[in-house]
């Protein structure tokens, strides 16, 4: 204890013995922090806008993702009516009976698009910045990592929500479904409420990529594992008990289920609305904290060894 306090004292003394010449033009503060978030957000938008057609093209992906099971279901059942009847029967036994299987698939794949984009954009952002050397430039600046991440996540939020809305519009027109039959507003509300948990997961994902220095294999894995556990095309109650528990504790599954239950007017797997809302608030609070803590932990570990710049 005495040793530590004398070491502290020595360090403070050493700092005081060094000449101080101010901070140049830098003026840290609340306004400067908000400026960091806004500037990062705008820069990301400018960069993606210079890759022609990127945002529009990714909006079509959920439509294709939804078309696959819809057409497969029709092919297996023999007709659309049979497919709808079978789907109603099977989802009823899981506690979520609906014959609107096309909207079920479209919503599932569009929601997965949001989850995928949020994770992918952050993970790929970290990796790309590492490779181009800009990550080291960011670490040289006094801006807090949280503010930079807030800028990047705001951008990924705007991008993924735009993709969601465009996909829902195109998909509804192509598959002849009407999302306004259900409570679309509540569904979007659940989507927004689920976003902070996705941020938390994306921080964990980004930290892992920074550590393993490889994005593609992790992204490839996630493209299949995440929709599987989210129950994009089926209720997760169809899983064996242990797998069901794992799937249901995964925040994107909760978000997907909440959105689905409000849009299709079916009951939630998690129980009454207030339980769903409570769980979503909890996930929105805890996951980002855990994610940011994990990011910080990984970052310190990297700085103790070879540094963030080594790729």
């Amino acid at each position: 204890m005495t040793h530590r306090s004398s070491e502290n004292g020595r360090r403070v003394l050493a700092a005081a013995e060094t000449v101080g010449r101010g901070l140049g033009l830098g003026r840290p503060g609340l306004r400067a922090s908000a400026d960091v978030v806004w500037t990062v957000f705008v820069a990301r938008l400018k960069i993606i806008s210079r890759y022609k057609g990127a945002i529009l093209l990714e909006s079509f992906l959920p439509v294709f993702f939804a078309a696959l099971p819809i057409l497969l279901g029709t092919a297996v059942a023999g007709s659309e009516q049979n497919a709808a009847n079978n789907f109603f029967q099977n989802t009823s036994s899981a506690g979520q009976g609906t014959s609107q299987y096309r909207l079920y698939m479209l919503l599932g794949s569009s929601t997965f698009m949001v989850v995928s984009l949020m994770l992918w954009l952050i993970g790929y952002w970290v990796r790309r910045e590492q490779e181009t050397g800009t990550l080291e430039s960011i670490y040289l600046a006094p801006a807090k990592r949280l503010h930079i991440l807030a800028g990047v996540t705001s951008y990924s939020l705007v991008r993924s929500l735009s993709a969601f809305l465009v996909a829902m519009v195109i998909g509804s027109l192509l598959f002849g479904v009407n999302p306004f039959d259900g409570n679309l507003l509540a569904s979007i509300g659940y989507l927004v409420l689920g976003i902070p948990a996705l941020w938390g997961l994306s921080f964990i994902f980004g930290a892992l990529i920074m550590r393993v220095k490889e994005a593609n294999s992790v992204i490839q894995l996630i493209q299949w594992v995440v929709p599987f556990f989210m129950g994009v095309y089926f209720p997760v109650t169809m899983f064996p008990p242990l797998m069901r528990i794992v799937a249901m504790t995964f925040p994107p599954t909760l978000m997907n289920d909440a959105m689905r239950s409000s849009l299709l007017n079916i009951s939630s797997l998690y129980g009454p609305g207030y339980i769903v809302l409570g769980l979503m608030f909890m996930a929105a609070w805890i996951t980002p904290l855990l994610g940011y803590e994990f990011f910080g932990l990984m970052e310190r570990r990297i700085r103790r060894n070879e540094g963030v710049g080594q790729y």
Partner: protein, 345 residues
Amino acid sequence: MPGSIIRVEHLSKTYLSKERKKGNRKKKLVQALDDVSLAINDGETFGLLGPNGAGKTTLIKCLTTLLLPSSGGAWINGYDVLRQEDMVRASIGCMLMGDRGLYWKLTGRENLDYFGALYHVPREVRVKRIEDLVTLLKLGDFIDRTVETYSAGQRMILAFAKALINDAPILILDEPTVTMDVPTARELRHIVKELNRQGKTILYTTHLMHEAEELCNRVAIIDHGKIIDLGTTAALKASISTEDVVELEGIFPEATVGRMRAVPGIRDVTVTPMDSGITKLNVACENSRMMLPRIIDAVTGNGATIQSIKPKEVTLEDVFIAKTGRTLSVDTQVLGEREARPRGG
């Protein structure tokens, strides 16, 4: 007597490096910095000299908070590198990785604006600062083009502008003239001198001795993670200057060289053949001024022709050779082959 604005005490850095040989993966502990201590005075230009892999960049990365040291401490601008990271970063303008660290899909102006925000420079101040930098560094022709269209030299000069965006009291420049053409590099050195004259403290790493001699008040020679010597360029040169060398160029028959070696006071004569039959002689002696008439006497006649004669000055390269036993270029190559360390040391 100015106080120190950068202070490093017993700083060491070790890290685990993975080595792959014939399919086997081994972890190896690398000592990148070994008990480094130095102090850089407020307002001076301080040079850090050494070959690639010597530890220059590792030291700079520790000072700029990119790496956590394994032991020891450092203080910059009144702040502790380990405990006041944000304030340390705000105190420094840094050009660390050459033309890397820029967004290629953004224009030069957008890059400067972006990093200005990250350094907490207020928006209205930033706009004015960018205009000043465009004028100072003559960026006008390309500042509004995306960086992907820049030449290597243009990217370097933009990276230099980025280091100046926050007008910090300390400037850290790691091999800033690499990939620049000769006139641009000369212009950059001129600006560095001007910035120093305005009061900025500059830490400049290079393996180009003429840059260090031109810019630095004091230099530290670093090799294998240790500071080998530190002082003013004049003091370092004087420390190895035990004898004078006179350099002659011309046509010298073999007998002339033998006759020179026999002159009392001449210690050694080294012969270097050059193009078109010209030979260079380096004559080591005790006192070149006193010996010059005797050297000329010994050379003239017997078909010898002197084209030029001048005293050879000791350079920092000579200091490096004297302190390490190797030339800078050879050492860079050998070290690179022997041990792969992070870029630039």
